[in-house]
Symmetry: C2
Subunit: 405 residues, 2 copies
């Protein structure tokens, strides 16, 4: 007997028929003799409708009241799924965030889970009752409803799996696993059987939308084995797990891309101590994250070019902030949003040289110019012109031997 | 300074614009220097949608899970109204049933309020914060969400007014008060300035849909002054209050009608002791309420005719139950659903003879045959053929001097 947390997203519970389908998936797990807790999102579209109501009432609204409104979406789903399970003869009951309780801080709209009291759930599960838990929500220190931010149901599921010391946390979604790269672009993309937390974390941060970054961080911290699989196809998915669990390690596990990047170049900035702080300080104050940064070697010893990337949605604001800095001396400010970030990810990089070199050579062979480079222990990212995105992805996917045979 | 509970139904909070309108009505009350708690229903249509989901999942569903689902409607409205008030500069916060808490029994789907802990609310209201409270919901003895049954928000409002010792409970609705009779049928119907609890209770039970019967019972028990008024028109409504508060008492306050009646006649039943029990026992067992009953004087000393009414929706079931009673001897069973119950209501009846006589004479003058009669201290009801309903209402309304001048 194992203890399993299953999580179903908005598409999987999009209408009553799909909720009945989810109930059948849960029943199959119960029939295998497992103890099961299910975490669900709101029916697809519902949260957007509720958010829209809030905006109609007041563009800038109280985050505490926002949480009261949007948390109802998940509450509807847990009641319906519990009924659907009972209809199949499976004992079940629903649990809201405050009933368990899932305790969070008071950062309404983007709260962090601080603790989950699982005694009640465990008692019910031991009695053979499936616990149907509302994702995305908790209860703050002042007995008020909180939400974890968009996509928070993944985090709820992993946190619950950690608290329940579950053997596995199965995240059911509309894709059937984690791929070596986006199969919509690279036809030869391969589904991975297993991937390490570290690699998944890079993939999630670098644009793969399969799992929410925070949920992967939490899985890594508490060593929760997470499986990503399809709610519509009955097949094993991808297991996100500890490195030790993976026997055949790949040099490179996946190639991610993100179109959510924009580049800013400041031409002929004064090359003096403190200039970087003078540029990035105001951006930080304006809550704009800077990702990749390159400063050219100064040619004349007094001036240099500085290039960095921000999220595409922050580009206009970043340009405005820098233009208004009258004490910042430079020749020109060149914004460019026609760029894409391509990242090669793999644990193997730590011990194998030449991974980055292969990337640069592969792109060079296709005459693709690299605008920026950044690296970490297990990934290399490059910024290139966005028109080369598909070509680069396919070439790299082949070069690292990831293509399906 | 007064303490006021305001209640707005589903039509009054039907969309975001209407919620903003409600916020303005609440602000006006706050601007008059009053302490205000607001009780709201779900946006119109929302509860029906949620109930429909439950039916789609399982025709016979767990009432506890039903409550989890349908209680979300009011939760959305309290969040939105609190935001709308804040947007107008009025401090406000939302309160769910479990946050207050509004304690109920565990009769899920039709729970009864057992107590309301108002300390938190009172503290907030004294600090100048409007308390926006979810109607229709509470929390049961096992920390699970309960609902009070359809129309329960009126009951929530009156119970809250009683617990808060409010000076008045204003029920805002889509009509502007309580009328002497249905103005859609009798053009000369008059809005009443005041009406006693007892009369309102009879009116509510006898078909006037302005207030839920249970809320009037509760108002009478705790002597809560209830005003019924329009959420769209800014004018005083009808005050439901103690008899002592009404200076000019009317002999008759109103005339109600109900089309929700059906008549059953058992022809030539054995006239022996115990026969009534033999007939009504099985109906009670089948949870069918019998309203009016008449047993004719036996002509031959051995047989009699027995006539009674049930709710129209119970007619088929009642006929079936009686047909299956093989030990019950009678000639014929005659069901008739083409009837209407007309009731004349007034506290004045207790001290004035002739009210019933005037009713019978007025109907006789119009050649309307009376099928059944029942009376209480403050009302006379008759059953007539439903084709005469409008004629009878208009004739009685004139006869008792209720017409607008």
């Amino acid at each position: 007997m194992a203890r399993i947390v299953m999580k179903f997203g908005g598409t999987s519970v999009g209408d009553c028929d799909r909720i009945k389908n989810v109930a059948r998936r849960v029943k199959a797990e119960v029939d295998r003799g497992n103890e099961v807790a299910v975490v669900v999102s709101a029916m697809s579209g519902v949260t957007n409708q509720l958010v829209d109501y809030c905006k109609q009432i007041a563009p800038l609204h109280d985050a505490r009241e926002y949480d009261v409104v949007v948390s109802t979406g998940e509450q509807v789903t847990i009641g319906l799924l519990a009924m659907a399970l009972q209809e199949l003869g499976v004992p079940a009951r629903s649990w809201t965030g405050w009933q368990i309780p899932i305790e969070t801080d008071d950062a309404h709209g983007k709260a962090r889970i601080e603790g989950i009291a699982v005694e009640g759930l465990e008692r019910a599960m031991k009695d053979g009752q499936v616990a149907v838990v509302a994702g995305f929500q908790g209860i703050g220190p002042e007995n008020r409803i909180t939400t974890l931010g968009r996509g928070g149901s993944d985090t709820s599921a992993v946190a619950l799996a950690a608290a329940l010391k579950a053997d596995r946390c199965d995240i059911y979604t509309d894709v059937d696993g984690v791929y070596t790269t986006d199969p919509r672009i690279v036809a030869k993309a391969r589904k991975l059987d297993k991937i390490t937390y570290e690699e998944m974390l890079e993939l999630a941060s670098l644009g793969a939308k399969v799992l929410q970054t925070r949920s992967v961080e939490m899985a890594m911290k508490y060593r929760v084995r997470v499986q990503v699989l399809s709610s519509f196809v009955d097949a094993p998915g991808t297991l996100v797990c500890d490195e030790d669990e993976i026997v055949e390690k790949e040099l490179v596990s996946g190639i991610a891309y993100s179109r959510d990047e924009a580049k800013i170049t400041l031409v002929k900035v004064d090359d003096r101590p403190g200039v970087a702080a003078a540029i990035f300080g105001p951006l930080t104050d304006a809550n704009i994250n800077v990702d990749m940064i390159v400063q050219n070697v100064s040619e004349d010893g007094t001036h240099t070019d500085l290039t960095f990337t921000v999220a595409k949605s922050d580009l206009d604001r970043a340009v405005k902030v820098l233009s208004e800095k009258t004490d910042l001396k430079y020749d020109r400010l060149v914004p460019d949003s026609t760029v894409v970030k391509i990242s090669v990810i793999g644990m193997g990089m730590r011990s194998h040289a030449g991974v980055a070199q292969k990337m640069f050579k592969t792109l060079a062979d296709k005459s693709i110019n690299i605008l920026l480079i950044s690296t970490s222990e297990i990934k290399v990212s490059v910024l290139i012109a966005d028109e080369y995105a598909e070509l680069a992805l396919r070439a790299l996917h082949s070069a690292y031997g990831l293509d399906t045979k």
